[in-house]
Amino acid sequence: MALPKRIIKETERLVAEPVPGIQAIPHDDNLRYFDVSIHGPAQSPYEGGVFKLELFLPEDYPMTPPKIRFLTKIYHPNIDRLGRICLDVLKANWSPALQIRTILLSIQALLGAPNPDDPLANDVAQRWKEDEPGAIATAREWTQTHAAP
């Protein structure tokens, strides 16, 4: 099946006008499958880390949101051990007007502002609520070990 014009355009633009700290490169053999890397935002426990993600555009994209997952281990209340992300725009709040670029920006923002009230990794969220400095330290530690560039 031919690649929709929209995907082609998005890909072109990701290359032409890259977002600082974010990189998304499609696979040669499957242009719907992207290797993504996101730099941890400054002043966050993830600063200095480079996180790898995989992104897949399903058949009915943009009617349905892209499927996206962290490959790098990350200690985050809204990201579980499998790398799955709890983000409203990836679910019910998806709109076809959103794009790969906007979604990745949202994820980057999520790293800067963890939301333990809407947890995906319950243990992490729990710790975040009870012992925030400890949790942040662990997050930093994980970033050092797993997300070193």
Binding site: P4, A92, S95, P96, A97
Partner: protein, 1157 residues
């Protein structure tokens, strides 16, 4: 029934009554007994040796039977001569030249070959005195006017061709005569053993080595015209006798005492051979018991001799009956039966004596077996019918239904042979009055057609043996290895096992039809080729004022009822109604002004009296081209047939004149030989007969027969003949042979080139721009789907019920109507309830017959209401503030936020003023609904719904709206319209989307929209109006006048225009090359029909790529029609609307089964 008759051919028996006193030669005892020799005795340079005694008479057995034989022969002769002198109408001749003596008459007849016109001319110019006899003209053209015109045409052409063809004929005639003269009265061909049985007892009746006389039983009925000799049993048996199947063959000893009979299986063929005077038999007793008792076996050795008269040409036989067919079918079975007996007997004899052809088209063993099998089948059939109490003509009526359909590979094979077109064949330049430029292959076609009309043999082609014939060598030794006398230059003889014809002359495959089948594939320019012929071979009135006009001044034939007036300057074109104006305009375009007077003979324009108009006397004003429809031909034919006299002349119509040339366009219209239209067309009279068709064989071999019958190609135009050689072998699975024969019929007759043929240099014959066919899958809306599903389940249940009850055929119309509704529901739900006329007559009938079921169904009504409820409120909404429109205008520059298209397609705004492509917005809503979510705006997440979407209508000032131009100023640049109002049906939406894109991307491009439902077209119209898309409409309900107005408007219009056209009315013939886009709204049962429609646009003259969109509803019967049924009949153009109703039904039931499975 000629062949059971004692007389050789070349005379018509029924003239005997009116014959004048027999010429004195009749009693001349010196003349040998065979009339043929005698006939040539009049030739000036007769071979003197032919009067010496034939060698058979010097041969070993000159005993008892010799003198009776002579007497018998003399008796024959008397009758013969009477007949011979009257091949033409002596009375008529005498009214022209004055009274003549009997032998002058006779002589004239001989030299003129029975052609009265020739006879008159020769008598008047005195050339008859030294002229040599010539063969009679081919019977198919024996009508005096035919031959006159033929003469006329030939004279003209021979001036060009240097006499080549005319000079040849008499020579070969003479050859035949001499050859026949050299042949002894009878000639040995072989012998075989037989075990006869005795019918009497006694001793010393028969002994070894004794001569035995073989003879037939005395026939019971009285022979009136023939005096019989005594002694030898008479070998003449009339039809009546052979009908009784009396096959007893007796033998007697040299004393004349009857001894016994031949066994049944031998007698079977020996009797026929004796009756039909093909052979004589002499037998020797090999062993007979002594004393002999009744029923004891006697061993005989039978020697078989071919009679000379057998070899005399018998060509008249078949054709005479054919001619007498007249306006109505006559039974052909008597003739057919004699033919069958003759051919099987010969085959059996040759098998017995182990005589095999030295050269034949194919394996002769298989051939013989096949022939015998055919005969058996025919016999069985006859028996069956006798059992049923049917008489034979009735059987004839049933036959066409039996014709089996051709498999595609067979059809391919057939066409491949007919298509071996020689790219180096000569070209001809059209006459100067023809203004168009012909392509190379068209000039070649012209050359070929001119040749056919001038009856020239194709030069460069070596004479080949007629494929139906076999070559045999005369045996040079007899059964005892004794040398037989040979005849100089006569080592071979030729047998046509199909007809039982025998000949001493090499049978050349010849062609004597002055026309043919132009079967170039659609779009190669058959019409233009034909028009070039009309220009290039015509009679000029100026020339006619000289000698050429002489024939036309001859007094008319006495049989007044059938006088047809020659129209030597007029070509008649018969075409489907929708093509009449196209023919007229193309004829005009191809001719220099004033060089081709063209008349459409149709409807009220029919007032002219063709007899007066087209006669030779009116040469300077006679129309050169008359264009009429099949309907007119049929109605005039019925009119004439219904009058008591059946007189052609009084009508003053098409049947009262003999045209110079007739052209049947789209000739598959007459493919059914039983149809009245076909019969009517056969009766049209013309010198040259042509048919144009892209599909000479639609799906069965009989289709071709009808064309051949129209062309009057002898002998194939005789159905009995056709049946024996083609239908029956084909039905008995001997495909190869049947197809072989068909090929030989086709080859000289047909010129066929296809679009994909390549010239030797590799360039295509015709350059056509590419054509792309896209299947566009249509998703039904929910409401539409609900209607569809309802109808589908209803139909499926009803069909299953009928299948179970075995009443499918009975309730055919109901089922069919239901399927029709189902298909319509794919197009537009409201069609389901409409009773309007639909395209197909069958469908219309079916729809009307639909008594119960869908139309009154309340549940269905509810579903449809649900659908239509979305449809109300179609008003444009223009109460938005100017700022909104301004915003819209600005945003219109943006790309679609959903699909990223640079320009938003069919810009649509939500109630919250967010804009995207219509398709994208609808998809968003649809996607949400499918997942059970509330659809929200992609931008602000406000809830949205379909009913509150507004399409932005941009009024392009460049696009002129026909008739609306004054109104344009009041139209704002933008306006909004509720999308729901536009939601007519998924298919219409898709069409509109496509048309709008087309308008945007290629402004000014014309397109054609085909649908088979005129009621659907009715619904498309308002949608186009709404979108301000200009259109014109062409359908079957329009008069000829209206149609041509529409077509010329479509052609002449500058700028974009849509032609809405019904598949049935516009599928054939039209030339719509102005359009570049085609939309097929609904699939037909076979794609061939759609393809033909597409070829209206993608044909010669098309300059651009053609893109075809076929709209197919996903997950519906349409899909199955396309993928299953169309696939299945990909190659059989069986649904061109020419099958019989019965066939159609059976096939449809099969299709329906597929649809609902």
């Amino acid at each position: 029934m000629e062949d059971t008759n004692p007389h050789p051919p070349k005379r018509r028996r029924f003239f005997a009554v009116s014959s004048p006193s027999p010429p004195p030669e009749a009693s001349d005892p010196i003349l040998p007994s065979t009339p043929l020799r005698e006939l040539h005795g009049y030739a000036a340079n007769i071979d003197p040796s032919s009067d010496t005694t034939p060698f058979a008479e010097q041969d070993e057995d000159t005993t008892l039977e010799e003198s009776p034989e002579d007497q018998f022969g003399m008796g024959m002769e008397t009758a013969e001569i009477k007949d011979l002198s009257l091949r033409f109408d002596a009375t008529m001749l005498e009214t022209v030249v004055g009274e003549l003596s009997a032998d002058v008459l006779k002589r004239l007849d001989d030299i003129s070959g029975g052609n009265i016109e020739r006879a008159i001319n020769m008598y008047l110019d005195g050339s008859w005195k030294e002229a040599k006899p010539s063969e009679p003209k081919k019977p198919g053209k024996q009508s005096p006017f035919d031959s006159m015109l033929g003469q006329n045409g030939k004279r003209k052409s021979s001036a060009v061709t240097g006499q080549s063809s005319t000079a040849q004929t008499p020579v070969s005639d003479e050859e035949t005569a001499q050859r026949l003269d050299r042949m002894p009265y009878e000639r040995y061909i072989g012998s075989f053993g037989a075990e006869g049985y005795a019918v009497r007892s006694g001793s010393n009746l028969l002994s070894h080595g004794e001569e035995v006389i073989i003879g037939r039983q005395q026939p019971q009925q009285v022979q009136k015209t023939v005096r019989r000799g005594k002694g030898r049993p008479v070998t003449v048996v009339s039809q009546a006798a052979s009908k009784r199947k009396d096959i007893v063959v007796r033998f007697s000893n040299s004393k004349g005492e009857e001894i016994g009979r031949l066994p049944h299986e031998t007698a079977q063929f020996v009797s026929t051979l004796l009756d039909q005077k093909i052979c004589s038999f002499k037998a020797i007793c090999v062993y007979a018991p002594e004393p002999l008792r009744s029923n004891e076996t006697i061993f005989l050795q039978l020697k078989c001799y071919m009679l000379r008269q057998t070899f005399a040409p018998r060509a008249l036989r078949l054709t005479e009956t054919n001619r007498s067919t007249g306006l109505f079918e006559t039974k052909e079975t008597e003739e057919e039966k004699a033919l069958r007996l003759r051919q099987t007997s010969l085959v059996k004899l040759f098998n017995e004596i182990r005589l095999f052809p030295t050269s034949a088209g194919q394996d002769s063993k298989a051939k013989r077996d096949g022939l015998l099998q055919v005969a058996e089948m025919a016999e069985e059939k006859e028996k069956e019918e006798a059992a049923k109490g049917n008489n034979t003509p009735a059987k004839d009526e049933e036959e066409p239904q039996e014709g089996k359909e051709l498999e595609q590979d067979q059809l391919d094979q057939l066409y491949k042979k007919a298509q071996t077109f020689d790219f180096n064949s000569p070209e001809a330049e059209p006459a100067e009055t023809f203004t168009m430029d012909l392509r190379k292959y068209q000039k070649q076609a012209l050359h070929w057609m001119l040749n056919k009309e001038r009856d020239k043999k194709n030069e460069g082609q070596e004479e080949s043996m007629h494929p139906l014939w076999e070559e045999y060598t005369w045996p040079i030794k007899d059964e005892n290895d004794k040398e037989l006398p040979t005849v100089e230059n006569q080592e071979k003889f030729y047998v046509n096992p199909y007809s039982g014809d025998l000949s001493l002359k090499f049978p050349v495959q010849e062609q004597n039809c002055l026309g043919g089948i132009l079967a170039d594939e659609m779009g190669l320019g058959k019409t233009i080729e034909m028009l070039s012929l009309i220009h290039s071979n015509r009679n000029e009135p100026e020339a006619a004022s000289g000698t050429d006009s002489k024939p036309f001044n001859l007094p008319r034939l006495p049989k007044s009822s059938d006088v047809v007036e020659p129209a030597p300057y007029t070509t008649l074109v018969v075409a489907p109604m929708s093509l009449l104006s196209q023919w007229a305009s193309e004829a005009e375009a191809a001719s220099k002004t004033g060089t081709l007077k063209t008349t459409i003979y149709y409807g009220s324009d029919k007032s002219l009296d063709l007899r007066a108009q087209c006669s030779a006397a009116n040469a300077h004003n006679a129309p050169n081209l008359i264009i009429t429809s099949y309907g007119v031909v049929l109605s005039e034919f019925t009119q004439i047939a219904n009058t008591a006299s059946g007189s052609r002349a009084t009508s003053g119509g098409l049947f009262s004149v003999q045209f110079f040339r007739i052209i049947l366009d789209e000739a598959h219209n007459i493919k059914n030989r039983q149809s009245k239209t076909a019969k009517a067309c056969y009766e049209l009279d013309a010198l040259h007969r042509w048919v144009l068709t892209g599909t000479p064989i639609v799906n069965r071999l009989e289709d071709l027969f009808s064309l051949v019958r129209f062309l009057r190609v002898e002998p194939w135009s005789n159905f009995a003949y056709w049946r024996t050689f083609i239908t029956v072998p084909f039905e008995s699975k001997d495909f190869l042979r049947a197809l072989d024969v068909v090929q030989t019929v086709l080859e000289p007759l047909v010129m066929r080139r296809t679009k994909d043929m390549r010239q030797p240099d590799g360039t295509p014959l015709v350059y056509l721009p590419p054509k792309t066919i896209l299947i566009e899958e249509i998703e039904l809306s929910k409401a539409e789907r609900a209607v569809y599903d309802f109808v589908y389940n209803f139909v499926k249940r009803s069909f299953a019920d009928n299948m179970e009850a075995g009443s499918v055929m009975k309730s055919y119309t109901t089922i069919f109507a239901q399927i029709l509704r189902l298909r319509q529901s794919c197009c537009h739900p409201t069609l389901v309830r409409k009773k309007e006329v639909v395209a197909d007559e069958v469908e219309a009938e079916a729809a009307e017959a639909e008594a119960k079921g869908l139309t009154d169904n309340m549940d269905l009504q509810a579903l449809i209401d649900k659908f239509t409820s979305q449809e109300n409120d179609g008003a444009e909404v223009n109460n938005y503030g100017a700022h909104v429109l301004q915003q819209i205008k600005e945003e219109a520059q943006n790309e679609c936020p959903i699909c990223s298209d640079e320009e938003i397609q069919e810009m649509t705004v939500t109630a919250c003023y967010h804009m995207a492509c219509k398709k994208c917005l609808l998809e968003v809503i649809d996607h949400a609904k499918r997942n059970g979510n509330q659809p929200r705006c992609f931008n602000c997440r406000e809830p949205i719904n379909e009913k509150e979407l507004y399409e932005v209508i941009k009024h392009d000032p460049d696009v002129a709206i026909g008739g609306l131009s004054g109104f344009r100023e009041n139209v704002p640049e933008f306006s909004l319209r509720r999308i729901a109002a536009n939601k007519s049906s998924a298919k219409i939406d898709a069409l509109i989307t496509n048309l709008k894109r087309l308008r945007r991307e290629s402004p000014g491009m014309k397109s054609v929209v085909f649908s088979q439902f005129t009621s659907f077209i009715n619904l498309i119209e308002p949608a186009l109006t709404r979108e301000r898309i200009q259109f014109v409409r062409f359908d079957g309900g329009m008069s000829q006048q209206q149609r041509s107005v529409v077509l010329s408007k479509f052609k002449a219009h500058t700028g974009g225009l849509v032609l809405l056209i019904s598949l049935k009315a516009g599928g054939v013939g039209l030339n719509l090359t102005e359009a570049k886009r085609v939309f097929m709204m609904d699939p037909w049962w076979s794609f061939a029909v759609e393809a033909q429609a597409i070829d209206r646009i993608h044909r010669m003259g098309q300059t651009d790529e053609v893109i075809v969109h076929r709209f197919i509803v996903k997950g519906s019967v349409e899909e199955r029609m396309v993928h299953k049924i169309q696939e299945r009949k990909k190659f059989i153009a069986s649904s061109l609307g020419m099958m019989s109703a019965e066939e159609k039904r059976a096939q449809r039931i099969e299709d329906i089964k597929d649809l609902l499975s």
